[in-house]
Symmetry: C2
DNA sequence: CCCCTGTTTCGATAGCAGTCGATGCAGACC
DNA sequence: GGTCTGCATCGACTGCTATCGAAACAGGGG
């Protein structure tokens, strides 16, 4: 699974580690997805309904659904159906993994 | 310039902030670029020559040069010519900005 | 049971991104 | 000065991606 908690600044990434990380960073490499993630994460209760997300952008429903799927398949969010609506929630571990990977590791003497 | 030191988990990103951040994340969304960045950052002295980077991948010189340009234009690295060789160095502030943006902000009560 | 709403999936299209070979440019060395 | 090496840029090709409208699917309510 190539888990990586070591900052990429301390030692070179292996090809496998880079593959895993880049997959997630690529998911963040779109302004719409970044705002979707931010909307979900900062929403009350840590989760948001797709209907709330859709109205926040001048984009069609399928497009929002597509971006949510990209985020979901990158392991950054997960969805849960409750009755009529589907609620999305951020997976904090994924964010932390990325945040740690980018940590400048200023401790390099 | 839409600087953002607030984690995207605490409040929704504006469109401008998302534009700036996504530009950098997109640059990280490729395994080759991620490994290039890691190679540069973890290299002795914090900088690496292009010639060392090129031989680390089964890719052509122009392709490596292209990826370095993407990283450079994203503000993640900078290059400096010294004699025959060009040395690239990581800009730590950029990494820290991204790392902070992704911080899970577990402090949300 | 049928419809209505919310969400995803499908198919198509236009634009972007990764890769290469060829070429150009800047220093170094003879 | 000519040439050789290191690196960047150019032009082209291929594959991926963002977006949409149309259609399918899932629950809820009449």
């Amino acid at each position: 699974m190539a888990e990586c908690c070591t900052p990429l600044t301390t030692e070179p990434l292996t090809a496998d580690q880079a593959e895993v990380l880049s997959r997630r960073f690529k998911a963040l490499g779109d302004p719409v997805r970044l705002r979707l993630l931010s909307l979900i994460a900062s929403h009350e209760g840590g989760e948001a309904c797709v209907c709330e997300l859709t109205v926040a952008f001048p984009l069609s429903g399928p497009t929002i659904s597509h971006h949510l799927r990209v985020l979901r398949e990158a392991g950054l969010i997960e969805g849960q159906r409750r009755g009529t609506w589907i609620y999305y929630r951020v997976l904090p571990d994924a964010l932390q993994t990325l945040s740690q990977a980018l940590h400048p590791a200023a401790a390099l003497t």
